[in-house]
């Protein structure tokens, strides 16, 4: 009886030993070298796997950064929008490279064709998909550059950062936005743009992409950019360009002086997160729409500032 047990143990043990020796040599022979830095970089990444960097997931991005560092000695063109500056600095540290600080970005909605500003002329009843509605018609308000309000951008967002406002029928981006760019691709009308977050989240942009002439643009929407070029004349920093009846503010050149906001006759230029202005008695006449927008912004400032402060304290 004892004999059988000893034979079994020694046979299996011997077999295991032989196999282990074979496997050891095979593993040495076919060893694939993987830079341990890839794992380190991956560890530092946000692990959102959103594809905002242009690579299929964080692992692929980590491999690309390590490869780029090894072959080119820099990380140009490789940017994790979700991680922002902190992550890119951390990645640079792991790879022993100096990384330039990148300005954090945020998605902005460049359409203000809310139910009030661009009242519906027709009713859409089809499938709830912007891509489909875009192929079908101009939009309920009649502007062929307007937001269709069917929330393709909301569906595309992995970060819960964009929501439809049922009152206006427009999407709104909140602070969770990581500028991954998924909504920019999802929007069939190219309304969403990634812009600099700006100091203290202050930013100014033209909230319209209508390239029609003034009259037809204004016919469909009260806050359309009519290409009057008043802002272009007002801007001292060459930040504003006008192409086919549409103003565009270059966020690299813009100094946030807010002069263009004052002169815009249709309130197409939006300022976000600025402190409410001091009342100016000499210019009391303002369009009711403009006043409404400003009051909206004021509320937002209060709300978002408190959030910011909290974050800073933490």
């Amino acid at each position: 009886m004892d004999n059988i047990i000893i034979i079994a143990i020694s046979a299996l043990g011997g077999l295991g030993l032989i196999m282990a020796i074979i496997l050891y040599f095979i593993a040495n022979k076919f060893k694939v070298f993987e830079d341990p830095k890839i794992d380190e970089v991956e560890e530092a990444l946000p692990s959102a796997n959103c594809g905002g960097c242009g690579f299929p997931g964080c692992r692929a991005y980590a491999e690309a950064t390590v490869k780029s560092a090894k072959e080119h000695g820099h990380l140009e063109g490789l940017n994790c929008p979700v991680g922002g500056n902190d992550v890119s600095q951390a990645v640079g540290k792991i790879l022993g490279l100096e990384v330039e600080a990148t300005a954090p970005m945020i998605a902005v909605i460049r359409c203000n064709g809310s139910h009030a500003n661009s009242p519906g002329k027709v009713v859409y009843e089809g499938a709830t998909s912007c891509a489909f509605a875009h192929a079908l018609y101009a939009g309920e308000g009649g502007c062929m550059h307007s937001c269709l309000g069917l929330a393709d951008c909301v569906d595309s967002c992995d970060f819960d950062a964009i929501h439809m406002n049922p009152e206006t029928g427009l999407p709104e981006v909140n602070d969770k936005c990581t500028a991954c760019g998924a909504c920019v691709i999802a929007c069939p009308r190219d309304i969403i743009e990634l812009r600099k977050r700006g100091p203290k989240d202050k930013r100014i942009f033209v909230s319209c992409i209508n390239q029609e002439k003034g009259a037809p643009a204004k016919k469909n929407c009260a806050t359309a950019c009519i290409g009057c070029s008043l802002c272009f004349k007002e801007c001292k920093f060459d930040a504003i360009t006008i192409t086919s009846f549409l103003a565009y503010i270059d966020f690299e050149k813009c100094t946030l002086c807010r002069k263009c906001v004052d002169v815009c006759p249709t309130s197409a230029i939006h300022e976000i997160n600025f402190k409410p202005r001091k009342p100016r008695p000499e210019k009391p006449v303002e369009s009711p729409i403009k006043a409404e927008i400003q009051s909206n912004n004021t509320e937002k400032v209060v709300a978002e500032n408190t959030v910011d402060n909290k974050d800073n304290k933490e």
């Binding site: 089809g126 998909s129 101009a138």
Partner: protein, 446 residues
């Protein structure tokens, strides 16, 4: 009549509602201002050759073909070119249009305006095709594919049969029906011209059995000619689809992704045959067409001979106005037509009808979950699985949509018509086709 022919797979029979089938074709007065979109055909839009301020006559060339699959556009009115600007058209978008302020009604001298019917064909096939090309004729059934392209089979392929489509399977529409009753002789001659151009010996004119008067009339007229046969077809939607009609008429099946010429067939609409007659025998380019204005609440459902560029408001006015509780105005028939977003949209070459629907009739039911009843699969005339394709399109799984042959969908809407859960299947199918088409084009470019 024995057993009537029809296509093999699927199909539905919606309520016919041919309200205007007894209304003779009325000629509509010339509009005050004509809006002529430059993109009136399938394929590339035409290029304007007139300028602002130019005086034009009826039948004068306004725009030239902008590519191989494109057509000429001729002036439907006489007057002065007011401007070339963007105006809303049937696509729901503002597109380039030539806008003409009408002055009088002066026709180009080269057009034969006499009422005589010329039945002798003097031109050679090549000359006929050239004439059709220059006259800007497109498929008037609604797809607006340039006719001359269909008449030039690719090398190695020959046409055996010409099939003239007088099916008019869309509910409500009656323009082709009235054409056959009132312009039967011209359609027969047009058919002979097309046979000559294609060098085919046999032509079928397919007419659905719900138009017995048209079948009788056309059979009588076709007796005089060898090779033209009138086929009475069982009423079944979408028999007017090219592939379905070929199956019904000559029992051949067009392979997936191929054109009818693959099985030796060329299909043309009766309206196109009439336009061909006018172009070849009377030298009259395509600048007017018959449009049905209909709907349950419309006081006077009618068929109008309208100039291209007439705003639809004028047609509705002529049919005694817009009913009070109008919910939707549809360009085309109820199955495949598209809701129009403005009354200023002009009549174009592809407008077969204007259908005015009441609010209760036109509103959609609320979408429910799919209960896997497979009704959509059963009625699909192309043998597809609409529930699967729409789901794939909805979930952006375009690889699956493509491998399940979404591009074979003819967008007839049979699936959505019968869906008990009121799922907008066709909407998602169209979305899928759009996306898959984009992907395929991109792939072929690379």
């Amino acid at each position: 009549m024995g057993i009537l022919r029809t296509f093999a797979l699927g199909g539905i029979h919606p309520a016919e509602n041919k309200l205007s089938s007894n209304a003779p074709i009325e000629t509509l007065p010339v509009p005050k201002q004509a809006i002529i979109p430059l993109g009136q055909n399938l394929g590339a839009p035409s290029k304007a050759i007139v300028k602002k301020g130019d005086e034009v006559k009826v039948g004068q060339l306004l725009a030239e073909a902008g590519g191989f699959i494109s057509t000429n556009i001729h002036s439907p009115v006489s007057g002065k070119v007011f401007k070339i600007d963007n105006a809303i058209d049937g696509s729901g978008y503002k597109r380039p249009c030539i806008i003409i302020n009408v002055e009088g009604d002066i026709w180009d001298e080269s057009i034969d305006t006499s009422p005589d019917i010329i039945s002798e064909i003097v031109l050679s096939p090549k000359e006929i095709i050239e004439k059709i090309k220059n006259s800007g004729i497109v498929g008037l059934g609604g797809a607006t594919f340039p006719t001359y392209v269909k008449l030039m089979p690719p090398p190695g392929k020959t046409a055996e049969f010409l099939i003239i489509n007088g099916v008019e399977c869309e509910p409500y529409l009656t323009s082709d029906h009235r054409m056959m009753l009132e312009k039967g002789q011209e359609i027969i001659i047009g058919t002979r011209i097309l046979m000559e151009a294609l060098n085919v010996k046999k032509a079928f004119i397919g007419i659905e059995n719900n138009k017995p008067d048209a079948i009788r009339h056309m059979t009588e007229l076709a007796k005089a000619y060898d090779g033209i046969e009138i086929q009475a077809l069982k009423v079944q939607y979408p028999q007017g689809g090219e592939k379905q009609l070929i199956k019904a008429s000559v029992n051949r099946e067009v392979p997936s992704g191929k054109l009818p010429i693959e099985v030796g067939c060329v299909v043309q609409n009766v309206g196109t045959a009439f336009a061909v007659y006018e172009a070849v025998q009377k030298n009259k380019p395509l600048f007017e067409r018959v449009v049905t204005v209909t709907g349950k609440a419309v006081k006077k459902p009618s068929n109008f001979l309208a100039r291209i560029g007439t705003p639809i408001s004028q047609l509705i006015e002529a049919a005694e106005g817009l009913p009070e509780n109008t919910g939707k105005i549809i360009g085309g028939g109820p199955m495949m037509g598209k809701a129009l977003t403005s009354l200023e949209i002009p009549v174009v070459k592809g407008s077969s009808g204007i259908l005015i629907m009441e609010k209760e009739e036109s509103s959609r039911s609320i979408e429910g979950p799919c209960i896997r009843c497979s009704k959509c699969t059963y009625v699909c005339p192309m043998g597809l699985e609409p529930f699967l394709l729409s789901k794939a399109a909805k979930l952006a799984n375009y690889e699956m949509a493509e491998s399940e042959s979404i591009m074979d969908c003819i967008e007839c809407g049979s699936c959505q018509y019968g869906c008990p859960a009121a799922i907008p299947l066709l909407d998602y199918l169209r979305l899928g086709k759009l996306k898959v088409g984009q992907i395929m084009r991109k792939r072929s470019q690379n």
